[in-house]
Symmetry: C2
Subunit: 409 residues, 2 copies
């Protein structure tokens, strides 16, 4: 058993891409930046790279911390590091911020060089497939022909699945945690409420609020509250808050009277400060649209016919937005194609957020998967940095104060 440590102080890099990105929706992002981080070192045969894809409210800052901002810890730091389930003594791990984000890579709040003003409403609608294209170009720039694994939770799992479909020869394994091959109508509906909250906020200004010096914070707060509630389980919320009231007895008003109200307001206030509303629209829409089976008349097995990776699929019993039933659909479609699939349904009380939390059984499953992968593929750790990382050092892009839960999907 290796002792577990943080990857320590990390540095983000910003890499510019001049090649236009043509999107599934038929638009073109003429040029763009991607911000990324790496942990561990690439080995001599470049066989130990793992790409980690982020979900709704996360970024390239997956592990470690920043000098001068030591409390800004990567969102999957409990999973990734020396001796951790995804062991950076052996694997070279890459975290990348997707285009459309508000955490560094080019997004709606970025300046469109052709106009000198923020992209705003003119930023192209992004899909999971578009993100995978952008990530593939980063892999090219890093000289990585094939990933030992592409890994993600929630929306990140969608990206890993898309990688396995789109680039079967570049993905030797895919780790899909708390994922789905398509959202249910209920999930789309929750996303729609969040979007309506933002779009109908008078401060939204059709998406071009930057020019007005305002943000649709009312809408962002509501969107965040809905997300927060639905990423937790009923039981987990009851365990955490119960029906506790803030003071002795009720005040009988429409303001805060229960702990859960106070918590939601605090979390949503913080979120509305640092998150961009257009990014929220864009990312929830990417969730809605993802549906690889759609091109095959709804037949997911057919959609996965070209995949070659081995798979680890993991779900959590109390996750009702990305329920185990959704993971089992993927497992069935993968096994229909006689692919090598491990499936773990983790008995965990925390809802969708469980994928971000430390759970002994969950982490043991991921650790065993990566250990087996290394053994069977002869993957050894790199000794120092064999490549110069491209792009310029990014001074301070990652968001401070990412909440510890409820930021999953």
């Amino acid at each position: 058993m290796t002792s577990e440590h943080s990857v320590g102080a990390v540095t983000a890099r910003r890499l510019h891409f001049e090649q236009p990105l043509a999107t599934v929706a038929g638009a073109v992002l003429p040029s763009y930046d991607l911000v990324y981080e790496t942990y561990g070192s690439l080995n001599a045969d470049r066989s130990n790279a793992v790409l980690v894809c982020h979900a709704l409210n996360a970024s390239h800052h997956v592990a470690g911390w920043y000098v001068g901002d030591e409390n800004n810890i990567g969102w999957w730091d409990n999973m990734i590091g020396p001796g951790k389930p995804l062991d950076t003594n052996r694997y070279f791990v890459i975290g990348v911020n997707n285009p459309g984000s508000c955490f560094g890579s080019t997004g709606p709040a970025s300046i469109d060089p052709h106009t000198g003003t923020p992209w705003g409403s003119r930023f192209p609608v992004m899909t999971v497939a578009d993100w995978v294209e952008a990530q593939a170009r980063l892999a090219d720039a890093l000289g990585i022909a094939s990933f030992a694994a592409v890994m993600g939770g929630s929306l990140g799992a969608m990206q890993a699945l898309q990688w396995a479909i789109r680039y079967p020869q570049r993905v030797r394994s895919a780790v899909l945690v708390a994922g789905t091959a398509r959202l249910t109508a209920q999930n789309i509906a929750f996303n729609e409420v969040a979007r309506r909250a933002i779009v109908t906020d008078p401060d939204f200004h059709g998406g071009d609020y930057y020019a007005h010096g305002v943000k649709p914070k009312r809408g962002l707060r509501l969107a965040r509250m809905i997300g927060h509630i639905t990423y937790l389980s009923d039981d987990a919320m009851m365990e955490k808050f119960g029906r506790a009231s803030r003071a002795e007895g009720f005040k009988y008003h429409f303001d805060v009277d229960f702990e859960v109200e106070s918590y939601l307001r605090h979390q949503s206030d913080k979120f509305a400060e640092y998150f961009d509303a257009n990014t929220y629209l864009l990312i929830t829409r990417a969730l809605d649209y993802f549906d690889p089976a759609r091109a095959c008349n709804g037949d997911l097995s057919a959609a996965l016919a070209g995949a070659q990776a081995r798979f680890l699929v993991a779900s959590f019993t109390s996750d009702w937005r990305f329920s185990p039933a959704r993971s089992r659909e993927m497992v069935k479609a993968l096994t229909d194609n006689r692919l090598d699939v491990s499936y773990a349904e983790i008995d965990a009380p925390h809802g969708h957020d469980a994928f971000l939390l430390t759970d002994r059984r969950y982490h043991a499953v991921v650790r065993a998967f990566f250990d087996t992968l290394a053994r069977e593929q002869g993957i050894v750790g790199g000794a120092g940095q064999p490549i110069e990382l491209p792009g310029r050092v990014e001074p301070a892009v990652a968001p401070a104060g990412l909440p510890q839960s409820g930021f999953a999907a």
Copy 2:
């Protein structure tokens, strides 16, 4: 088997109460109107009266239809009528609109006689216990000393439970459908998001929007969307909408691309037209605050120690906002007190809304309960109207176009 018919054309009545209603919150409603309807006729010994309590988006219009508005059918018309599970050939059924509502009884949109302007933000916060007091006064006015049953679904079940606690000698049975003795933190949280949507709408004006000639419709729409989603099950939504898109292929925008989005917008637009925002705040708050066990250190069995009624408790397997587990808590507390309790957990796919829908097994359980009650208590139907119904005829108070689902809690 009696053939099932509608109670037919019905008339609402408005009854004025001069006696002030002192609320649990410490406020006073100096005088008020209650609007109510009755179906069937009171028998000679006045033993066949059943009170039906309404939930969030409903009213006193429980069964039948109005002359000139034949499509405006009562919200529990499938349950109540001649030959129906609650048989109006045998029982005298009363539907009453609670104070604070926007469907006829005095509420925030009513004129405060002391100021000549709408109550608005000054309307007292109402609790379930306050509603039961108001209902008891209506029972007094009708000369009903004891109800054969007090019955309700969701928030209506809370009122029936409160009746059994507060007036044990006036409630011979209580029918609690899709209810709970207290909301969970998750439920309070959903209510809080709905309230925040309303309160942060710039058209809310602190609750006194009437004077501004506007309504916080943006907030009401969002509140309604959240309610609608959570009163349905994931499976029921998937069955109804799937991932169907409106046209061929996606438009890739933030407007409507999925059927479920179109449906939610349509439903919420309608709702925002006819519902009052202050009533939404008030009713969700009554849901949050209801917690009879609170006075007994959380011991529900102790809170129910004085109850004497026989109980029918029913829940639905796919109801995740008022789940079977909540009903089982009530059943346990009732049986702890050696009360006569029947419990039915109905395997139904429609979520919380199931309590409003026609389900053979569910209706059979209710029918059997009322049949047994009549047999054991020697309840016979009334022959014509033995009492003059107090109050003046109310011309047209009930809302037109109540949606067929999603209006439960």
